[in-house]
Amino acid sequence: MNRAANFLGWLGRGFLGMTGRLGDAASLSASSLGLVAAPPWQGRHIVIQIFNIGVGSVAIIALTGAFTGMVLALQGYYTLSKFGSESLLGAGVALSIIRELGPVLGAMMLTARAGSAITAEIGIMRVTEQVDALEMMAVNPRARIIMPRIIAATLSLPLLVAMFDLIGIGAGYLVGVDLLGVNPGAFIAEMQAKVTSHDINTGWIKGVGFGFLVGVICTYIGYRATPTTEGVGRATTQAVVLSSVGVLVLDYILTSFFL
């Protein structure tokens, strides 16, 4: 009886803590994003963050995209050749990448490369009192630190995903056509016939959603990190784990919504 009560208590406390943090994250992000139109205009800082978060992730996204496309072509060819439908390879590769793998893997790579850096950077700014220093110099840290990073992640990811898709399909073409001998006309024609604008919309909407989610999670956890070296380390791990899981959960929700 006592054990059950303890367990329920533990569960309740955990739930309350979680909802509290969710509410805190929502209010911090909303109040930060609300400052986008408030003077002084932070355009320069948004551009700097797009460079850090977006441009900085180009190489890793290109590499991931290329290998994803190549593996998909290999696996797809293996499966399709069992049914004698190798000509569908182009459509298979393109649909998998555009609808699913581009946004999800792109978001994972953004989390690993830029998200962890966002959390660590903001956490260290807390430890070294730089956030308080901005506050004392009458510069709102939400407008200067949080808002530009959320906007930059939201704008960057759909563009990175588009690049991932192009490179992935190109790499799939190289493996499928040049290596495995699929007919190039069939590869392109099937892709054009099967991929609709709805698929492409699904892809970029996921990109926007995942970018926003990664931005919100990584800035929030960094901003609320315990201001110690240990706290920042823990926050960085937590940000990467929560962003990755969050992207997968949101992916399911968006996919079921758009199917």
Partner: protein, 285 residues
């Protein structure tokens, strides 16, 4: 119409800059401050002293507006500072400077850009004018010529001096110092103490210094406030504190490890604690 900022402190003025009444701050169940009254006079150097955990940094953060009190009142230049709207708080902040314990330089910017930061943010001055101001401020702290160094290339003492130059870049009416000499070698600490003294007296600037460095604190203070366990236990001019007969004050300024402020923070009996773990401590027959 922008509300006027308070006037820059005049030479002979000793009117009030900050007034706190019955200030309490709790973190969870722990009271960091418990009914503190404080009066910071315009143009004077007020030194808040106390041991670690006495609540002095919390007090500084409250009067700088970085945190809100659990209860009590803070008045800054005649305005209610507890319920102040953020916009007005930021207007008032343009006349405040703060030197943080770990300097808090923005580590993506070099020395020049750090000192120029408040000027870039809040003024429309030409870069030439800003350059002149930065040069003057760096000359004041003895670091002219170091403009291009990054914060990571500075020693602790130099970083503190840059932080000082940044804090006075906007010619603030009041400067807050959080442990300005902690972690510095004696020479650097002496330099910083002298700079604080000069910056306060020469321009009749109001200063609030939080420190546990007794000699440095008493040497620059016009008014000393001694905190212990979140309460003010003594207050007055540096001479009053030096000659205080309060045993707690004597213990603090003489640096004695034990006295009315006990060495041990334990609340339970040592013997009981040892005997309550029979597996780890055995009494020999």
């Amino acid at each position: 119409m922008k509300a006027p900022l308070v006037s820059k402190p005049g030479a002979a003025s000793v009117s009030s800059m900050i007034r706190c009444a019955n200030l309490c701050k709790k973190y969870g169940d722990v009271a960091a401050l418990d009914g503190v009254n404080l009066h910071v006079r315009k143009g004077q150097t007020t030194v808040i002293m106390g041991g670690s955990g006495s609540g002095k940094t919390t007090l500084l953060r409250l009067i700088a507006g970085l945190e809100k009190p659990t209860s009590g009142e803070i008045e800054f230049a005649g305005e209610d500072f507890v319920h102040i709207p953020r916009k007005r708080l930021y207007e008032l902040r343009e006349m405040m400077g703060m030197v943080f314990q770990y300097s808090a330089l923005l580590n993506s910017l070099n020395v020049y850009d750090n000192v120029a930061f408040p000027l870039h943010e809040h003024t429309d001055l030409d870069e030439d004018v800003i350059r002149t101001i930065v040069t003057m401020k760096l000359e004041q702290v003895g670091l002219r010529g170091m403009e291009r160094l990054m914060p990571s290339e500075l020693s602790g003492g130099m970083a503190k001096r840059v932080a000082l130059a940044r804090a006075i870049a906007m010619d603030p009416a009041i400067v807050f110092y959080d442990e300005p000499t902690s972690g510095l070698d004696p020479i650097s600490a002496g330099v910083i103490t002298t700079l604080i003294h000069d910056l306060s007296t020469k321009s009749h600037r109001t200063s609030v210094v939080v420190t546990h460095d007794v000699q440095a604190g008493l040497s620059i203070a016009d008014h000393v406030v001694l905190l212990w366990q979140g309460r003010v236990i003594a207050e007055g001019g540096p001479e009053d504190i030096r000659h205080s007969e309060d045993e707690r004050v004597r213990q603090f300024i003489e640096g004695r490890p034990d006295g009315p402020i006990p060495f041990s923070r334990s609340t339970t009996s040592y013997l009981d604690d040892l005997l309550s773990h029979p597996g780890t401590v055995r009494m020999r027959p």
